[in-house]
Symmetry: C2
Amino acid sequence: MNEHEIIDRIRQLFPQRAAKIGIGDDAAVIGEQVITTDMLLEDVDFTRAVPIECIARKSLAVNLSDLAAMGAIPAFGVMDLGLPPWALDKLDAFLTSLAASARQYDFDLVGGDLSRSEKLIVAITATGWVSKRPLLRSGARAGDRIYVSRPLGASSAGLQLLQRGWLEPPRELPYAQRELAESMIRRHMDPEPEVALGIALASIDAVTACIDVSDGLSTDLHHLCDASGGGADIERERSPVFPDLASTGPLLGIDVRQAVIDGGEEFALLFTSTLRESELSTRTGRPVYAIGRIARAQGVRLDGAPLRAGGFDHFA
Amino acid sequence: MNEHEIIDRIRQLFPQRAAKIGIGDDAAVIGEQVITTDMLLEDVDFTRAVPIECIARKSLAVNLSDLAAMGAIPAFGVMDLGLPPWALDKLDAFLTSLAASARQYDFDLVGGDLSRSEKLIVAITATGWVSKRPLLRSGARAGDRIYVSRPLGASSAGLQLLQRGWLEPPRELPYAQRELAESMIRRHMDPEPEVALGIALASIDAVTACIDVSDGLSTDLHHLCDASGGGADIERERSPVFPDLASTGPLLGIDVRQAVIDGGEEFALLFTSTLRESELSTRTGRPVYAIGRIARAQGVRLDGAPLRAGGFDHFA
């Protein structure tokens, strides 16, 4: 079974009685409450070379990003922590960092479970409150504009550099490459969830659907279209690219198109609206980027050519 | 840091603003909602020799037992699943079993996160609703009777047998020993949470405090006393022992006293009340076992001698 098939099987086996929105969106909605969970694993999602402060913040950020995609206000949650000896030695830095991040987003950690383990495991469950309404993946209609909330490509490129062992880029790199490499590595290790934007979008009726870019633009756009029952046409030209990635990325050996179109863990919001870019920017008080339109025809197309879901599947 | 010190540090770092009851009880209470989480790990909490159906049910049971200790009604929750190849092959049996158990307790699984991993990881977060009131660890007063909800010792003894490699006891064992061994192994692998009893106890005002026996009677009684601000006197004679364990356990090499007094993962409820055993049995419709009294004097005593918390500490 691949990831998609497993999720389908789970949906089949577990009736979603309590849930307005159950398995299959970024988070579940039960009454006015939103709930989601994400687990980060050593040697799957990070290595022990990554600063423990970043692991702590990211383990919360991935959950808050799911709440953001629902337009929800962070509330409280719990954490399971599997600790190997190396992480136990750094536990205070981990907890201090997590606490600062929780405070920043007004999130209360109210419980958890501790265990020793061979690899570091951080599994957080976050609940939030529906703000004006839950933002779903399923509301997009033909003609709606498709938006992303920020330039893409840095996280996936940063991961490629980390996989070369570049926790710090080599000192002999030219300045511009080193600067770019550093900021992309940081973006991968320490992503910011779009909590405020999600809440703002939920308050705008003309925003029709939303998802966070965790699997990659191509894959998450497929998810949004599948849930909404339509297709999408996007333009490569219009997809915003992380600053300097287009010019300097290739010098670092980065496949820019792949990083922007298929790269996961961006934690930008991908959403649709009947409103124009300028109006949405005004109403949210920040830039947003129109990249295409929802279409009646099934499937996702990039510059007219079919675009397959190129994101990561744990079980493919 | 040992487990206790880590939890203290977490409590210090994370303000419990949203929570009526935060870190430190069996579950947190926020408004009318109860939330808890527990994670089971391969080679820490079970081995891959254990039937996957049991792992599935136990991963939910440990959470439902926390809800039971609060007197809460199971509602909904989420699951993080880290899957190694051997477990992916048995995933359908795992999910089918988990779904049956969820149905039995009226618990809805509404979301989750999947990952590949080297070892099987099952981290469930369960929420419930406060029934009449939340049962806390902190309400016991000097003179209250101390109760356990069922005979103890089987889970810890079953674990000892499992650690000998006895998933099935050897066929050459005498019948009585084999029967006992099988039922203790089953009790360890496939525990039943006391959900109905917890809800019943919450409806009885004269029940003053409650905790589940997950760390072991001696340790959990210390927890209850610490939270309530008193001490306890219990009698070995009165502690109910799993049927045939006292007579046949020693033939299997089981230290019966240790299994009953210190053995963890019993998932019985340990609670206090001003009521007599016969009255509590009548009102709950089932046997309960008085084992001693709450005392003004700090500390826990067994037959008058100080009893230390003998339970398992992951980080001791």
